[in-house]
Amino acid sequence: MNSIRSRSDSVRDFVTGRAQFIDDIPLPAGAFHVALGLSEWAHATITSMDLSPVRQAPGVVCVLTAEDVPGNNRCSQLGDDPIFAEQIVEYNGQCLFAVIARSHAAAEHAAQLAVITATPLLSAISIDEATLQQNRLVDPLTVQRGDMSVHTKHQVQGSIHLGGQEHFYMEGQIAAALPEANGEMRIVASTQHPAEVQLLVAAMLGCDATDVIVQCPRLGGGFGGKETQATQIACIAGLAASITGNACKLRLSRHDDMVLTGKRHDMRAHYVVGFDRDGLVSTLRVDLHVRCGFSADLSVAVCTRALLHLDNAYYLPNISFTAHLWRTNTSSATAFRGFGAPQALLVVESALLHVARELQIDSVELRARNFYRSAPADQTPYGMTVTDNILQRITTELLHSSAYTERRRAIALMNAAQPAIKRGIAFCPVKFGISFTQTHLNQAGALVNIYTDGSIQVAHGGTEMGQGLNEKIAAIAARAFGVSSQRFRVAAADTSRVPNASPTAASVSSDLIGRAVENAIVKLRERLIRVAALHHEMPEELCTIEDDCLVAGNLHVPFDQLVRRAYEARVSLSATGYYTTPEIHFDNKAMQGQPFYYFVYGAAVSEVAVDVLTGESRVLRVDILQDVGHSLVPDIDRGQIEGGFMQGLGWLTTESVVWSETGRLLTDGPDTYKIPTSSDMPPTFNVQLAGWSTNKRDTVFLSKGIGEPPLLLAVSVHLAIREAIAAVNPAGALSLSAPASPEAVLHALSP
């Protein structure tokens, strides 16, 4: 199993090709390979399924369908995601059967040979169709405050369409299952949530969780796409291994991955905003119409987070936010970095842009006027008080460092002189709430083992997917213990080491796991210090561990000796740690409470150029000032900011998820689905951490979560494109859809 000592070690493994992803791990000789047979109907009753051509294909061992599942044919906790569809298929791309063969190629080939007939049923592909059919997943979710009937001097309204997003993790979905001689099933899966995989594989096999061990060495990217979507893959691999008694691996082709698994929720949003002549917003009504796909998956949680971010950075006294969750015959929309918040941010920023245009007030000035401020303007719509707001300082510093005002003036002059290329510059603030909105998930465990040579293993339930969690954990552990980080090895995720872990998601992993590890280390430190105090006959308060030594007065004892002494004194060198986020609570029905432990703040200024003849656009310069509290590892945080921003940039510019009218995914490969390449990176890309910031909450070394918030900063690019469009057609700029594809931009430019 992979584990890391430090970041540079893992990068060294990557550049030499030594790092092993799941597909690289040697399987026992004679292992089988699995491929899936997928539905070609969006919604249909299967009338016949002739799998004999599949069974007879060369290299095929056997074929699995729903009938072969000994336990629960479900791969989600909510129970509405079948592992294999039974009778009814609910989207084009849904899994109908699996082929087990002696080679990957044989399995993939055979999977195409099934002869299936079906009777199509009425389907709802688009949000409009689902609305027409009143095909709701659940009742609408609502957050309300104040009096929406108060008189407002001005009112504007508008609509905007926001597209979905394919995760396009470079390593596709994959799992291997290895039946152990003792009856255990060992699953090695590329998942952000090993504990859920463990539970659902056990339920599928009809055995106990103790019979299933799930390990995750590392992920080749997750971004939310392997939070729930990896479970089905692991279940099918597990079933194949259980039935054949042989090691089995399921690796999806890029095409199958794209059509089978869920993506970011796309939405159609409508806003009505009331405001006074100074641009102070008094009422905001927002309706989000959300395409959820065929099952619930995480849609309720995603829409909840969306509703809780429709305020972004602004005090909005009277609001009514509603999310309509539409069930459609498409893959089940799922978690994607930001989890509904990016969509919400684009909607509220569109509304504020509209207000600024209406009043002809500079949009930065308008935003700043509406920022959260002192009581009562520190109350969020969901009953939480904003106590840590630093946006005013971030804004001032960023506007200065990016020379926003001067550049805006220069751009206006250039736009007047240039007919074909129009520039735009825009500022966007971000406030992002940290914690799972499902309060119970805000817990983490850890296991820390000291070996008698003084080396230390840290195990936790989080998964490493490139975000640098393990290096942050090693840094936290070293600092908490007072020893060098070189002593540590952070183990790969394994459900038998640390049980019941929450998914690695919601930007909370270093907060939760870091504290849990610290908690275990505090216990071990106390034990070691007690041993030393007894041995050296010193009071415990005069003993400490720092710089790899026990220090007691003038005495310096190397850490290895201290450990050996503790072992000989028969003191346990192993401890578990545990942490739950304090103070948070949230009533999911009333949509009130304190769902977040704290907020992360940031802002971006982006400049773009738009070709008004073709609608093509290009980002020219981006300046970011981001709050991370006290940064644990600045290089990692910078990487998260740059990478998250570029992922958001892709969502808002080049990446389009398109389904045909009959529900076939048209953007089913990298030839049609375009994530950014290096030439889409802004040529000037200034990223600064707000070094002066701290966390007012007692997080681990006062750091803040950073995984998701920077993605939202890319909304500034969309706003900047609209500024450029406004130089030609101010009305069109307001309704520019996302992504701002060349076609969408040209449409917005046309009167």
Partner: protein, 465 residues
């Protein structure tokens, strides 16, 4: 004993059953040789995670191993990421060192491919542009900034690393049953006549992708990669003659001499790993409606020379393309060369490609226009359009309408209606018919602005304020 196919992998000799000539190089590297540093990301040559270097006859190419076959690398030396580290000292290659120094990996899955692209970039004779060299490498984590910095660091590193052993394997690749690699045109034509159903393979960047997509594999391949006569470029005469087997990278180089205006257009043709393997004839013979080269060659008045065993003919590029993925090549013929006539006096060339993403994207629309500007008016007008319907084509009616008119803003905008009437765009994921019509007409405005020259029109040249 069945015949054996030989190549080198990381300077070690590899012998494979020649029946596997059509197997993807990637699968051999990962599954047979167990060099798992090379990753599978998309299996369609789009993401670069599987990149390796292929060295033959003193020339090193960047190759997407997922769309290369074992038959194509027979007799060559292949280097995977594992081969970069010095075997004796364990010292890292500067490309690896710079990726570590710049912390240019997050999840690490794309990293080996990016390292190979950096190594390829460091071997360029002229200073490489990072975004151009990396245009075929996708990274979903980093946002590319540290990778670009790593490229700069690596390429500033003056130390040269000799990767391939000076002693190369026998370059005689040989023919295998079902995979024939003739070394001369005469033999190639003979085989072509004998096996008209055989699949003709050159760079394979389109063909092998199609095999992957359809799960098929041809029973009989005629591989032209070793036919010496097809590799020639002759720029000594009035015409520029480009051998059928000349790679896109080489073809671009020789086209840019006489046609520097096409630089921006050709820059976006494909990634280095595509351009280094795809051939000019392969690109024309696929007759893909979104091939960028055909419409350019059409307005340059280029011709396709083809031969069978007894005769040869010369076909204008615009009539060579006969329909959706169809050409006028007969079953016993091979393309031998593409002939581009000399640049006429006072010629103006405008080459536009519009796509959703700048690099490595299929065109929503290509519009190519050439004319001679004589006495202020357009003469000998040639207009070709691509990317918007089932084939690239010339637009004769529109050309006639342009003939004798001055390329002013007013005139070009008047002509937009005629252009609109001459095209029949389709709606697909790359754009609606309505959008394509609008852009096609707008590009005439751009042409007039570009003629004039004092207006900013090129998005890539725009500088931040």
């Amino acid at each position: 004993m069945s015949p054996t196919l030989t190549f080198q992998l990381n300077n070690q000799a590899i012998h494979v059953d020649a029946n596997r000539a059509c197997d993807p190089l990637l699968d051999f590297i990962r599954e047979d040789a167990r060099r798992t540093g090379t990753k599978e990301g998309c299996r369609s040559g789009e993401c670069g995670a599987c990149m390796v270097l292929v060295h033959r006859a003193g020339c090193t190419r960047l190759v997407n191993s997922c769309i290369a076959t074992l038959g194509q690398v027979a007799g060559a030396a292949v280097m995977s990421v594992e081969g970069l580290t010095d075997r004796l000292s364990g010292a890292l290659h500067p490309a690896q060192r710079s990726m570590i120094d710049q912390r240019a990996a997050q999840c690490g899955f794309c990293t080996p491919g990016i390292v190979m692209a950096l190594v390829f970039g460091s071997a360029q004779s002229t200073p490489a542009v990072p975004t151009a060299v990396l245009s075929g490498n996708l990274c979903r984590c980093t946002g590319y900034r540290p990778i670009i910095d790593a490229a700069r660091q690596c390429w500033n590193d003056s130390g040269h690393v000799e990767l391939f052993d000076s002693e190369q394997p026998d370059t005689e690749a040989g023919s295998f049953p079902g995979f024939e690699s003739p070394a001369s045109l005469a033999v190639a034509l003979e085989l072509r006549a004998k096996h008209p159903d055989a699949t003709v393979l050159a760079g394979g960047t389109d063909l092998v992708t199609e095999w992957r997509r359809n799960g098929t594999r041809p029973s009989h391949v005629l591989y032209l990669g070793r036919v010496q006569e097809l590799q020639r470029i002759d720029a000594t005469g009035p015409d520029l003659s480009i051998g059928a087997g000349v790679t896109i990278a080489q073809a671009i180089d020789c086209l840019l001499g006489p046609w520097p205006e096409a630089a921006d257009y050709l820059r976006r043709f494909g990634s280095p790993a595509i351009n280094a393997n795809a051939t000019i004839a392969g690109n024309l013979q696929t007759a893909s409606p979104i091939g960028d080269l055909a419409p350019l060659l059409m307005v340059l008045d280029a011709r396709v020379n083809v031969q069978n065993q007894t005769a040869d003919r010369s076909i204008p590029v615009d009539t060579f393309v006969a329909g959706y993925r169809r050409t006028r090549l007969a079953a016993d013929e091979l393309i031998t060369e593409i002939v581009v006539p000399p640049r006429p006096d006072r010629l103006k060339l405008f080459a536009y490609k519009v796509s959703r993403r700048f690099d490595q994207d299929l065109a929503s629309l290509n519009l190519l226009v050439s004319f001679q500007l004589i006495a202020g008016v357009m003469q000998q007008v040639k207009v070709a359009i691509g990317g918007l319907s089932n084939q690239a084509s010339r637009l004769p009616v529109f050309e006639t309408a342009c003939e004798g008119r001055p390329p002013t803003l007013q005139v070009m905008q008047q002509l937009a209606q005629t252009l609109n009437a001459a095209i029949e765009p389709i709606t697909d994921v790359r754009g609606s018919a309505r959008y394509r019509r609008l852009v096609a007409q707008n590009l005439l405005t751009r042409l007039a602005l570009d003629m004039n020259g004092d207006t900013e029109t090129n998005l890539r040249l725009v500088q931040p304020t």
